[in-house]
């Protein structure tokens, strides 16, 4: 259908973004195609050590899912703090990722967790990383006839510790910070820090990630350097949420907090 109708049509899930934008006349479509009618897109399943989440699963469903709570508590906890209960009840994970609004909590955490997006188009299906799906503010790599089927999140191994923190003043987060650490005794062997909402897309920095590896005591001292590297990569913008300078400061504060939370 998408292929047939072209630019006149748009996929519609919970409508929390789409209908708002259409009401404000920012977007105009003649046809809305309801993806919620496609069966099996609303499932949460465990498969081969990964969590498979269909694109029409709502924030509310993720927040309350026993499977998620048990296997990936950080995701359930992040979802609890997305938007308000009305938006969570109808807003979907797929809609969140595909709208690519820069202030997305899930995008930031999923990038840190190494999630992969399953995309289906007329020509066939493919699997891409979150950073390949979301390419800019309100921009994705999806072709006009492509649909996000779901995301696959590898369940972190026992040695992995994850934390997601956000700082929010307005309707959407000012900053989201995800940290996943692989811990071996007193040492961190690998680290992934991702900061979102401060600029157009969630960002990580190889430099920051490497600073975050080593002995816990050593890392603790190097946290400001890691934060600086992360801030440099993210290159925050001045906007109504705050100045770039303040956001860089927040990255410092929340990286420190995430580090102690992940290890606690």
């Amino acid at each position: 259908m998408l292929g047939e109708l072209g630019d006149k049509a748009r996929l519609y899930a919970g409508g929390t973004e789409l209908l708002l934008a259409m009401k404000h006349d920012l977007l105009r479509y003649e046809h809305l195609i309801d993806v919620k009618t496609i069966s099996d897109l609303n499932k949460i399943e465990l498969k081969n050590g990964s969590l498979m989440i269909g694109s029409t699963v709502t924030h509310r469903a993720l927040e309350r899912s026993p499977v998620v709570k048990e296997n990936l508590p950080v995701l359930a906890q992040m979802e609890t703090n997305v938007a308000n209960v009305r938006v969570r009840a109808s807003g979907t994970l797929g809609g969140n990722l595909c709208f690519a609004e820069p202030h997305s909590d899930p995008a930031t955490l999923l990038l840190a967790l190494g999630a992969r997006a399953h995309v289906q188009g007329k020509a066939g299906s493919k699997t891409v990383g979150i950073d390949k799906l979301i390419t800019g503010a309100y921009e994705t790599s999806l072709a006009s006839d492509e649909l996000l089927v779901g995301v696959e999140i590898p369940i972190p191994t026992k040695s992995k510790q994850a934390a997601y923190l956000k700082f929010q003043l307005h309707e959407r987060p000012t900053l989201g910070l995800a940290l996943v650490l692989d811990v071996d005794g007193d040492n961190v062997t690998t680290a992934t820090a991702v900061v979102g909402s401060v600029s157009t897309v969630p960002t990580q920095s190889g430099k920051a990630n490497s600073i975050l590896v080593g002995s816990k005591a050593q890392i603790e001292k190097q946290l400001p350097d890691a934060a600086e590297a992360l801030a440099e990569a993210a290159d925050p913008v001045d906007d109504l949420e705050g100045s770039a300078e303040y956001k860089c400061h927040l990255i410092r504060v929340f990286l420190k907090r995430a580090f102690s939370q992940a290890l606690s």
Partner: protein
């Protein structure tokens, strides 16, 4: 002071459930948006994209040619009408004429079969503009080379709400100036033991009401009928009578329930425009704004204040001086009165022997500012109550004790020429301080403060009402006061039921239909309980007098022999209820008695203000020292209301007002970038949420029956807003040692101030 101190109340002073509660929560209450008239069309408004521009031409032919479009109305289609309106100054065209003065100003309206058709036609109207230089701040508006917003001379409105001149329309961008002065300020500051001085900024804010502006107009050759979300139907009637050159009796304003106002629905807003649409389209027309459009319709005046305050060695406040410059936007609306009131309200409820306050408001190319809950008081209480704390700190006094020592005392004429103070600040402050645990130890990063305000309420005493007592003893109150959610439909029946000795359930209210209900000047300035309440009380008593005469006639006795008892009369053994008096008098179980009352500026209402609206608030906050984010820990409100006719409703008003004030203290601010309002939607303009409320809230009322209203009542519902921003600023200073002289106190502002302090060492 009130003459009677009755205390054995049957209906009054009880927290009866609100009358409109059930219909509102079940979605059955009728608002203007629910109204559909036969043949009704819908209007949508084209708004200016420029802040200041000449209109070169408007070509509406393409829009008018679209199917479903009845007509397009522009400022050039208004021949036969007087298109400029305004109760203070007639400076506001109902659609832009010759030029636009702010981005968002209505330039044309499409009237069509439905809203969507009207909306889609908007982009087919071609407007050619020639951009003019624009000004956005008072400083820019005052600059020598500043462009003039208004070139015309204006007529001052007879209903401007004060006796002084209006400054607008004299060839400058000044909209209004006002000054108060007594004592010798210069001398006092020279002799002072301590002086504090600073510059403060109070932001532009939006009085968010769940219901945006909505009106339906039906205009024909003889009459104008308008259903509107207006707070003051009689004031709007006056503007429309002028626009259409009609007698008062030909203009009818009907106001059903209003979905919140907070000042934003006061005076005339979209009514002249929708009436002009109906006049052109020759059919009823509905205009319903979106929230985003409502935010382009009105806002509060933002205020730049320089203030200094002095104390002597004994801790007595001896002088206050201030210069205030307010930004009133493109049109005056009610801002001339805001200027008057904010000037007066700089004195705070303190007895200060030397005072000089100079105030002016400037036209700028921004959304017009007007009434906003608190009415100019919050703008100057931020500096005023901040300086009380600053001054106390400077002379080493506890700020709470310092307030107690300087607060105006009951009966004191602390503002020369005005009504002596009718509140009890000592008790108010004590109650607030106790509620938040004054003096108890606090964790690090926490701050606790109390503050107060006393406003010369702008309630002008001009009100009338009629009470119809029916033959079965039930009653209908005819009132021009609008139910905005403040509870007038509950409180007024409580007063009538108390007076007539009948059950509350038997009293009904018909309100705000200018063709039916007697005149009431406005539903604003916290006046309804005091003024309309008094009118209802007096009209009930007047009905009783009539019924005593009727009873004497029925019982064939002398009038003096008839004694009034609760719910009726007695004469010897004979006892008649009101229903019996009326039925026997007419010899049929039908008919009625009409009690009337007229209130004017005389008797107990001759001294203005009719009451001082007084409240204290107390807060405890904590500050996240790393991010600068404030958490509200505790809040206490103390409404000094004389007597609460309905305590639960009075407390509800207080928590509402304090939450609104907290919103300004923490996050509310309309932001302009260049000519555009950039956060003009409720997704971007941060309003308080339930989750922002303090963990602990205590609501208190001080009831000394010291007001002029019924049983010693006086107005409330705004005052708890006024001191909140100052309270939060003072609490931040106490928590983390930085003084912020600007609202809102955003995390970034606090973080920055702490950083600057640290950097200085």
């Amino acid at each position: 002071m009130s003459a009677e101190k009755k205390t054995d109340f049957h209906v009054v002073n009880h927290s009866l459930p609100r009358r409109d509660g059930r219909v509102k929560v079940t979605g059955k209450a009728q608002y203007v948006a629910d109204l559909r008239l036969i043949g009704m069309a819908y209007a949508k408004v084209l708004r200016s994209t420029y802040a200041h521009a000449k209109i070169i031409s408007i070509d509406k032919s393409r829009a008018e040619a679209r199917p479903g479009v009845y007509c397009v109305v522009t400022g050039y289609d208004l021949e036969g009408l007087s298109p400029y309106y305004g109760h203070a100054v007639k400076d506001h065209p109902l659609l832009a004429i010759d030029k636009v003065r702010y981005a968002g100003e209505p330039v044309a309206a499409v009237v069509a079969v439905d809203e969507r058709t009207a909306f889609e036609a908007l982009e087919f109207i071609d407007v050619k503009y020639e951009e003019l230089k624009a000004v956005f701040t008072p400083a820019e508006a005052l600059a020598e080379d500043a462009p003039l917003l208004h070139e015309r001379q204006f007529e001052a409105g007879a209903l401007r709400g004060f006796e002084g001149e209006v400054s607008a329309g004299k060839g400058t961008n000044i909209c209004q100036t006002h000054k108060i002065q007594w004592g010798d300020v210069d001398k006092a500051f020279k002799e002072a033991a301590a002086v504090v001085e600073g510059n403060y900024y109070f932001p532009m804010t939006y009085a968010y009401a769940m219901e945006p502006y909505v009106a339906v107009a039906e205009v024909n050759d003889q009459d104008v009928t308008i259903y509107s979300s207006a707070q003051h139907p009689f004031m709007v009637r006056h503007d429309l009578k002028s626009v259409f050159n009609l007698p008062v009796s030909s203009v009818r304003l009907i106001v059903p329930f209003v979905g919140g106002g907070y000042g934003s629905k006061s005076y005339t807003k979209i009514e002249p425009l929708v009436a002009a649409c109906s006049w052109k389209a020759k059919r009823p027309v509905k205009l319903q704004l979106t929230v985003e459009e409502a935010m382009l319709t009105t806002r509060s005046d933002d205020a730049y204040t320089w203030m200094r305050t002095a104390a002597d060695a004994n801790g007595k406040i001896i002088a206050r001086q201030a210069k205030i410059v307010m930004n009133t936007g493109a049109y005056a609306e009610n801002s001339p009165l805001v200027v008057e009131k904010s000037t007066n309200r700089c004195v705070g409820p303190y007895a200060i022997p030397n005072v000089l306050i100079e105030n002016s408001s400037l036209y700028t190319n921004t959304v017009p500012a007007s009434s906003y809950r608190g009415f100019g008081c919050a703008q100057v209480t931020l500096p005023g109550e901040s300086q009380i704390d600053e001054l106390a700190a400077k002379i080493g006094k506890d700020p709470y004790e310092f307030r107690l020592a300087n607060a105006a005392k009951p009966g004191e004429e602390f503002f020369p020429g005005m009504r002596p103070f009718d509140g009890t600040l000592k008790q108010d402050l004590e109650t607030a301080a106790k509620a938040i645990g004054w003096g108890k130890p606090l964790p690090k990063g926490h701050g606790r403060t109390v503050a107060c305000s006393g406003s010369d309420a702008g309630a002008y005493p001009l009100t009338s009402t009629a009470i119809r007592v029916h033959a079965d003893g039930s009653v209908t109150i005819m009132t021009g006061s609008t139910e905005l959610g403040q509870g007038s439909h509950t409180v007024l029946p409580q007063i009538a039921a108390e007076e007539l000795g009948i059950p509350f359930e038997k009293v009904r209210v018909v309100s705000s239909d200018t063709a039916i209900t007697p005149y009431d000047r406005s539903t604003g300035a916290s006046r309804t309980t005091t003024l309309m309440g008094t009118a209802v009380l007096e009209a009930s008593r007047e009905a009783i007098q009539q019924m005593v005469v009727m009873a004497a006639d029925v019982l064939k006795v002398k009038i003096e022999q008839v004694r009034v008892v609760r719910g009726g009369v007695r004469c010897g053994e004979a006892q008649l209820k009101w229903s019996e008096v009326i039925s026997k008098f007419y010899a049929l179980p039908d008919g009625e008695v009409i009690g009337r009352a007229y209130i004017r500026k005389s008797g107990k209402f001759s001294a203005l203000p009719v009451f001082w609206e007084t409240a204290a608030t107390g807060v405890e906050i904590s500050v996240d020292e790393e991010t600068g984010k404030i958490t509200m820990e505790k809040l206490a409100t103390v409404g000094d209301v004389g007597l609460a006719i309905n305590p639960a409703l009075a407390e509800g008003q207080d928590i509402g007002a304090a939450t609104m004030g907290m919103g300004i203290g923490l996050f509310e601010e309309l932001v302009y970038e260049g000519s555009q309002l950039v956060n003009g939607s409720i997704l971007d303009y941060r309003l308080p949420r339930f989750s922002d409320l303090p963990k602990e809230v205590e609501l208190h009322l001080v009831q000394n029956q010291d007001g002029v209203g019924p049983y010693g009542a006086k107005g409330g519902g705004e005052a708890s807003l006024n001191s909140m921003a100052a309270n939060i600023a003072n609490a931040v200073d106490r928590a983390v040692g930085v003084r912020i002289r600007q609202a809102p106190l955003t995390p970034e502002r606090i973080w920055r101030a702490m950083k600057e302090k640290r950097d200085k060492g």
